[in-house]
Amino acid sequence: MSNDIKNILERLAAVEGKLTPTSVKHGLNSQQREVPQLPALFKPKNIRALGSRTDPANPMDGYMVGERDQPRGNALEEAIAEIEEDMISKVKKDLTKYLDHLEKKGHVSNELKNKARDAIERGEVEEDDENPLPKTPGEFAAGAAGGALGYKLLSNPIVQKAMPIAGAVYSGYDAINRANAGDRVGSAIAAAGAVPALTYPSLAVQVARDKYKTGEFFPSDEKIKSTYARSVMEPPIPPANQRPTANTKQPWDHAPVKTYTMEDGTCLECYGDDQTGFEIRNGENVLPTRFPNIDHADMAVKIFQKRREANQNQDYLEER
């Protein structure tokens, strides 16, 4: 750039700087007069990568270009809404992660979750007309915990650990959301004792204790228990003196029902029977999912084999 052009530009910049933003008085509408106008040759000052008070990412902050199309309040509301949305999504993500962790830790299948979801989708869950179910999350929690089921479960140290893991937590959380949305089906699931474990632990436990002491039980808890809580409670928790120890061997522990040899030589074994279901083991590792019959287990292994084969093929192809 020649010196002449540079000189002209510098002079123009100086003139422009004098003209705007303070010198322009005419030809502006009321909104334009409200805010300092951005000069055509505006050059942000005091912008440094470090230690600058001006945000380097937004050097035009505070200046308005053209007319304002929205009141400032809307932008603020939008920003707040965006922050809220971020926070909610973070909470959701954390909760999902936590629940996944609990499920994995407890080796509990997603059976209840899926069952409850399916029941809700099919509309199979019915209300008890004589004993209408509560409508608010607090009532669900208190009612559920007030039942013998809730108290017994919560007072049992083993179940205290197992409860949140058993997939009931997720269902309970889901139930609250559904109840808030006016879905009464959700209340039935909440009443299964899932809610207090996570959402209202202190309230639920307290109410449960009070109600248990006075003998005042939630009227329909037996029905709910038989309908919904079965999955949570299975296998049933026997009295302390009858509980199986680590050394107790199930009959089907002795020999696998079926064995599968993988391509890499790994041997998967299927144990179980029709009463207790089937499980798949790889040496000492046990797949947390239990299968109701041998066909399902068989199918799971085949799908696993196919997927593994597909993955291997994706990584390396044969040239020949």
Partner: protein, 146 residues
């Protein structure tokens, strides 16, 4: 002995060149064009180093290996008979490039010990080239920055 190290370097460099060219031919996926060109740059550079390496072996009074059988005996880099997917190609070449750097460093030290400044200078250039590939391969493999 420097000549023996150079023979190993020659065979290993040949294997590296061949692998890079194979990847250049067989790479697939959304980054095909970029990786195709990248592998080409690598194999052309590796190929250009073969002749000087062999000639330096002759310069030291030894004969240079010149058969696939002998190269497969001497090379430190295993061949790839399958076609990996693009990222695995990059990972494999990254590992092999590090092997080349180790070998070059060893040759460089031996050349200096033997007071073979010309050879040391050539190897230093190769070190620089492979150092650059290391940076580029590492950068390709940083998926978390994508």
């Amino acid at each position: 002995m420097l000549a023996d190290s150079l023979k190993t370097l020659l065979a290993t460099n040949f294997a590296y060149y061949l692998k890079a060219q194979g990847f250049h031919w067989n790479v697939e996926g959304p980054d095909f064009g970029e990786l195709h060109a990248f592998f080409q740059a690598i194999y052309e550079d590796a190929y250009s180093a073969l002749d000087p390496t062999a000639e330096y072996i002759r310069y030291l009074g030894e004969y240079s290996p010149a058969s696939l059988e002998r190269f497969s005996e001497l090379t430190k880099i295993a061949g790839q008979t399958k076609i990996p997917r693009a990222r695995l190609m990059l990972e494999e070449l990254h590992v092999n490039n590090d092997q080349m750097l180790d070998l070059l460093n060893r040759c460089f030290a031996e050349a200096n010990n033997d007071n073979q400044q010309g050879i040391a200078n050539f190897i230093a250039e190769r070190l620089s080239a492979h150092g650059k590939y290391r940076w580029q391969l590492t950068s390709y493999l940083k998926v978390e920055r994508a």
